[in-house]
Amino acid sequence: MGWIDIFANAKYDFMGKRKVFYVIYALLIIFSLFVIFLKGINFGIDFTGGNLVQISTRSSDISKVRNALSQLNLKDVSVQNFGQEEDYIIRYSSEIDAQFVVNKLKEILNDEIVLQRAEKVGPTIGSELRRQAFILSIIAIGLILIYIWIRFDLYFGLGTILALIIDVIMVLGLYSLFQLEFSTITVAAILTIIGYDVNDSVIIADRIREFLKRYEGLKLESQKLIEIYNNGINSTLSRTIITSLSTLIVVIALLLFGGPVLYGFSFILFWGIIFGTLSSIFIVSAIALDLKIRKKF
């Protein structure tokens, strides 16, 4: 039939090469953790507390703004271009109001400066949000583990969760590499990814179970298991990739048109979907298989 069909007759030996993928993933995790520890996560004021002021100027370049700010004696001050050429985001931790900063900048720069956004987050809220983000991520992962455990088995549950954690570590590694600001909306993106990345794994797990049913009651050799698992991945390969692509395309629109406020959010979704798809193909079933073969549980 005349349809475009990628991977229609895929017969890759994913399971046979799983040791190779483990090594590659181990390296990727080490690299991501290395980046995170080296560069750190650029936590925004949502989590650290402090002030954020977004201004638009008429004709002030960033060095002028930076110079003017240095005259104000603000603590931990930083300036950053935001979206348009002459728009800036200023962060600082002193107890000084945004309007005061804007008025002073007007005076010093002699420019028309408009206060676009002012945010102030106290330290209590910051630490609360940090704790909340952590607890909710754990709850989300826990719920997913339980669901997959009930629907499939514990092996797949653990494989999925392990892969999820790896995905999140890798996304955070990239986030840290580019020093994007980690804010509440970033957490929203991560939780969305946690819910979405399981998709492909679930579809593969479902297919593998369908194949396993044909051998119900039989004691399977690990060679046979490898074959069944490979079949499961290969026969779902095209839908795994197409579902991810169709969502990725939407995320690309968000990256292109969503503006700076949504950039970090879209960035996490973009890489999260890619990593999630790759890990469902390469390691989720592999981990489930190894756990099943060793029958540790």
């Binding site: 987050v121 983000a133 989300a140 819910g195 979405y196 579902t243």
Partner: protein, 523 residues
């Protein structure tokens, strides 16, 4: 296909309801400013109430979270009561401001969340909300008591003149009068210039200095005044206990009045209830000749001399900078004092231009995201792709309809959630099409491929949607407004996506097959 007609009816009902609930939103947001002006206020408000609210990040405005500083040693009921009364007072104050649709809400055990759409004078808003507005009347100490106290502090401090010079950075401190040389005389009162206030405060807050102040009295500062280029506060020694408080107030009005020196100054006229009037009469009649300070939030506004007993229960606050301040002051005094002071934990303000910009960016993302998916699905699944993506337009309609019913708020992340939902929904169609292709590869014809494709894909579709829903549900517990808006849309989107991507898409295929006898659709 005997269920076909029933399914058509269900779909039409859902569409009709969505449009019905969405209609006020469309009506409201397509009104021009002139039309809004023309419309009766009541009708406009009704319309606004029925339409989807735009979040503060889209329409501009101010979002605040306050912490109510309740005393430590009270039980839960008392605490709850204080927080509730504080919320009520703030609500009253804000209602008098004439902002459209403000929200004042108690959240958690000791917090208040406030949303002020469109408000941009942040300083004024904070002043009105955060001001305790604790009104008090206290008698001044006799001049000789004040003088003796100052002398005592002078004598006490003369021993540590060198450290004082360092901390105040004034080297003209007189050795025998270290404290009083920080003070000047202004119209018969003691005054401190602005730069020295912190030094004076530091001295007066010392435990050893507090012991030098006679029992039953305490120092108070005046509000900031200016003369020429210098700014200063007066310093008063007042009775420790308030003689009369704002609790007895029944009315406060901003007017022009003032004293004989300043006849056109803005003032706030106060009116007390009978009990308050009686207390006031008692104080004034038994203290003629003495001075009575009017204190607002621990700052002395004025301290006029009692010339005669005041029996009518009326008084005046002078020393106010502008008419605007007088009006705001009258407003918050009338609304009552806050039962406990509040502090700002979180503030987010967005200007109107940025809001408009965000609406534009959100809309653009939705339109282009939709077009991208449309092109992609048409490319990969031909007519089938075109049909399913077109059906997804219905998803927007239903989600927005449900948001209208819930009176929910649309935020920028929420707009991102809308288009993401469509991206997620399409996944179900991909799963179905892939299954259909599989069935056709195994020799089934198109019509039975539909049957088996939908049936066999349904398990995977339910699994993935339940997992999305779980994640979205967890997210609704996180953080503040904009994120919640996103999570709510994601969660609603799961249900509507199952409807559009599975139920309606199947229906369209079945209609094509059974009503129009279509035997093949390229997928």
């Amino acid at each position: 296909m005997k269920t076909l007609n029933i399914r058509i009816i269900i779909t039409l009902i859902v569409i009709t309801f969505s449009i019905y609930f969405l209609y006020p939103t469309i009506q409201y947001y397509t009104l021009s400013d002139a039309q809004k002006e023309f419309m009766p206020k009541e009708k406009l408000r009704e319309l606004k109430k029925k339409s989807i609210n735009l979040g503060l990040d889209l329409q501009g405005g101010m979002y605040l979270v306050l912490h109510v500083e309740t005393p430590k040693n009270i039980d839960l009921n008392e605490k709850n009561d204080i927080v509730e009364r504080t919320t009520f007072v703030i609500k009253n104050r804000i209602d008098n401001l004439g902002i459209a649709e403000p929200i004042v809400q108690k959240i958690g055990s000791e917090r208040i969340m406030i949303q002020l759409p469109g408000v941009l004078d942040r300083e004024r808003a904070r002043e009105i909300i955060g001001r305790t507005a604790q009104l008090e009347f206290r008698l001044l100490a006799e001049p000789q008591i004040l003088e003796a106290t100052i002398n005592r502090i002078d004598r006490y401090l003369s021993g540590e003149i060198d450290t004082l010079k360092d901390t105040t950075t004034i080297d003209t401190l007189l050795r025998n009068k270290p404290f009083s040389s920080l003070l000047v005389n202004y119209g018969g009162d003691l005054a401190i210039s602005e730069e020295l206030i912190d030094s004076v405060k530091k001295i007066l807050n010392r435990e050893d200095i507090k012991n030098l102040i006679p029992k039953g009295y305490n120092f108070f500062f005046g509000n900031l005044e200016s003369a020429g280029n210098s700014k200063f506060r007066r310093l008063f020694l007042l009775r420790d206990r308030a003689d009369l408080t704002g609790a007895y107030l029944i009315n406060a009005i901003a007017t022009i009045g003032g004293d004989q020196f300043n006849p056109n100054a803005p003032v706030v006229s106060l009116e007390f209830n009978p009990r308050g009037a009686m207390i006031f009469a008692n104080i004034t009649s038994s203290n003629v000749g003495k001075r009575l300070a009017i204190i607002l939030d621990s700052f002395v506004y004025s301290a006029p001399q009692i010339r005669e007993a005041i029996l009518g229960g009326r008084a005046q606050i002078t020393g106010i900078q502008s008419m605007q301040e007088a009006k705001d002051l009258a407003n918050i005094l009338k609304a009552g004092a806050l039962p406990a002071p509040v502090s700002i934990l979180e503030e987010r303000s967005v200007g109107p231009t940025l809001g408009k910009d965000s609406i534009e960016k959100g809309t653009k993302s939705i339109i282009f995201g939709y077009l991208f998916v449309l092109v992609f699905m048409m490319f990969y699944y031909r007519l089938g792709g075109l049909i399913t993506v077109t059906i997804q337009a219905l998803n927007f309609l239903i989600i927005l309809g449900i948001l209208s019913i819930l009176g929910a708020t649309l935020t920028l992340p929420g707009m991102a959630g809308l288009i993401l939902t469509v991206g997620f929904a399409i996944d179900a169609n991909v799963l179905i099409f892939e299954r259909m292709r599989e069935e056709m590869r195994n020799g089934k014809d198109f019509v039975s491929a539909i049957e088996y494709g939908y049936k066999n894909a349904s398990r995977a579709i339910w699994d993935t949607n339940i997992l999305h829903f779980l994640a979205a549900l967890v997210l609704t517990f996180f953080g503040s407004g904009p994120i919640k808006g996103f999570a709510v849309i994601l969660a609603i989107g799961v249900a509507t996506s199952l409807f559009t991507a599975v139920f309606v898409s199947r229906l369209i295929f079945d209609i094509l097959v059974y009503k129009f006898n279509v035997r093949y659709i390229p997928i």
